[in-house]
């Protein structure tokens, strides 16, 4: 059955958005990512204008992350304190990133910077996560044992002022650490036009040394707030949120997020990281192909990356 989307101004078979929502929601519940880096290109592939795809995806992530946060909160896997500091940093970073995009647009090379940031960040994060997870699985070391091993980075973070204990995550950090790294992710997310979950998760795992299951719940919590802000701004300033498309997507994604949260508890932290790393790398390879193969159309709608 086809439905007409009033803002996207196109018609779509309802199986497509509900199915996409289910798959991406599943990833969201499993890994604590919003899934924007997957969903937005998929929606564009199915004929949704790029600006509407990005804005509407934010709207459906609000639903998926609410559903996911709720499921993780019920089992005590959301560190609200850490989430709020990351949010504060992310908010500042987002503002800086948006200004950065304006400068790049004025210089005329925004697209190149955005695409390269995408490939590099996804490639580095995916490769590192895959390598690290496989190594630790081989050594059969638990997350707790690894946490004891102090790196130079760890020592530096410990030396910063305003140290505080994050009870839920079982870690002690300076307040500056989540704010600064949250800000860094916020800048990149704004440049890339994504929520930044796939960047925030590795930051929490490898820099903040939080346990994987708390990482997922906390990441969803901060994604929820980011996406509420983005949805409102997109609807208010650009008129690009398609309510019908969002409803179809969230029909799938809210259920997917719940199923993902259930499956996630059955998988080990290392296994989750390996699967996420493989997905991130697969998306990287797809982007590299898109960049190097001659496109079928040399003209495209304005407004997308």
């Amino acid at each position: 059955m086809y439905l007409y989307l009033p803002v996207a101004l196109t018609s779509i078979n309802i199986i497509v958005p509900v199915g996409l929502g289910l798959v991406v929601g599943l990833l969201s519940g499993l890994f604590g990512v919003g899934g924007g880096f997957l969903m937005t290109p998929l929606l564009i592939m199915f004929g949704i204008p790029s600006t509407v795809a990005a804005a509407t995806d934010s709207n459906q992530i609000v639903a998926a992350s609410t559903s996911g946060t709720y499921a993780h909160w019920k089992v005590g896997n959301v560190d609200f304190k850490m989430g709020l500091y990351l949010l504060a940093g992310g908010f500042i970073g987002g503002l800086v990133g948006v200004q950065g995009i304006k400068v790049l647009n004025a210089m005329g090379n925004a697209d190149f910077v955005i695409k390269m940031t995408y490939v590099l960040m996804l490639g580095i994060v995916g490769s590192y996560m895959l390598f690290e997870s496989l190594m630790s699985m081989r050594k059969k070391k638990s997350e707790e044992v690894k946490a004891d091993k102090e790196s130079a980075m760890g020592k530096f973070l410990k030396s910063l002022p305003l140290q505080t204990h994050f009870e839920k995550s079982g870690v002690t950090h300076s307040l500056l650490v989540p704010v600064i790294f949250g800000g860094f992710v916020g800048i990149l997310a704004a440049i890339m036009g994504v929520g930044g979950g796939f960047l925030m998760v590795p930051v929490m795992v490898y820099i903040l040394r939080m346990p994987m299951h708390v990482v997922v719940g906390t990441s969803l919590f901060q994604i929820l707030f980011n996406c509420i802000e983005v949805t409102f701004l997109q609807a208010y300033t650009n008129h690009t949120v398609d309510f019908i498309l969002a409803v179809l997507l969230l029909l799938g994604s809210t259920v997917g997020a719940q199923v993902g949260a259930v499956f996630g508890r059955k998988l080990k932290g290392e296994q989750l990281k390996v699967i996420l790393a493989v997905i991130v790398l697969a998306v990287t390879v797809k982007i590299v192909f898109d960049l190097t193969l001659t496109p079928s159309l040399l003209l495209g709608q304005s407004g997308g990356h």
Partner: protein, 273 residues
């Protein structure tokens, strides 16, 4: 004097009688004249003059029919008003990376452009007539303006890319031979059934039917098709544009509600524990 007046009056009556007789005679002759002479005027009719985009809209079909001069070829164009289109241009960066390298603006281009004819346009219409009435892609290519301004092969190349882009979104199409004609009671009737793309946005569209003889357009007729939003689609579209704050708030509240709702359902079922 009186006699002179009588003679004038008598002559005038005779003249009137003569005129009436001639008119009557022509009327009688007209009634017995061959029927196809009376059917020379071109007509055009679209079966839908209003297409409503409602919740379950997935495009439509429009049939165009009418009467034309026997033996005339027909060309039917369906176009939106001319306007401008700004598109992103893809090019190679650093010799091997395809990405957006700038904007291309096209002026005097219709958003939708469909041309259907009884035979191949090149076989039935002269190049001069094609350009005069902007019929066919080559004529449209000469008619539009591009920014940055290009000439020669480069202009042709980017116009072809533009047509490829529009054809991919089903807004541009051409066909030859799909307009069928049949003689009925000495009149030539024509007919075509076309798919109306769901990608065509709301607005007024003009259907123009050209009758062609000896590679020249001899007559044209027009019909209008209006596409408009209706029902839920109209309500949401208008709200998104005119009441954006409320629309954004409702979108967020609905998403939060759906997320919590599904969370509660799964929670009660034991899924979250």
């Amino acid at each position: 004097m009186y006699r002179e007046q009588n003679i004038r009056s008598w002559t005038a009556s005779l003249n009137n009688l003569w005129r009436m007789s001639i008119t009557f005679l022509f009327a009688i002759l007209g009634a017995f004249a061959p029927a196809d002479d009376a059917a020379a005027e071109l007509t055009a009719r679209a079966n839908h003059d209003r297409i409503k985009i409602d919740f379950f809209y997935h495009g439509s079909t429009v049939s165009i029919s009418g009467i034309s001069d026997p033996g005339a070829d027909l060309i039917i164009t369906m176009t939106s008003a001319e306007g401008h289109q700004a598109l992103k241009k893809k090019g190679k960066v650093a010799g091997f990376l395809w990405m957006n390298v700038g904007d291309m603006k096209f002026e005097h281009v219709p958003n939708m452009y469909a041309v259907h004819s009884t035979r191949k346009i090149d076989d039935i219409l002269s190049p001069g007539e094609m350009e005069k009435y902007v019929i066919g892609y080559p004529a449209l290519g000469k008619h539009i303006e591009m920014t940055p301004a290009l000439s020669g092969e480069e202009r042709d190349r980017w116009f072809n890319e533009f047509v490829k882009f529009k054809e991919a979104s089903k807004l541009y199409t051409t066909s030859a031979g799909k307009v069928t004609t049949a003689m009925e009671n000495g009149k030539q009737k024509y007919y075509i059934l076309t798919a109306w793309p769901y990608q065509a946005p709301p607005g007024d569209y003009i259907v123009t039917v050209y009758a062609v003889k000896d590679k020249t357009i001899v007559e044209k007729a027009e019909a209008k098709v209006r596409v408009e939003h209706a029902g839920v689609v109209k309500t949401l579209f208008d709200m998104a544009k005119n009441n954006a704050g409320l629309y954004g708030a409702i979108s967020i509240i609905a998403a939060l509600g759906a997320g919590f709702g599904v969370g509660l359902v799964f929670g009660k079922g034991g899924g979250a524990h």
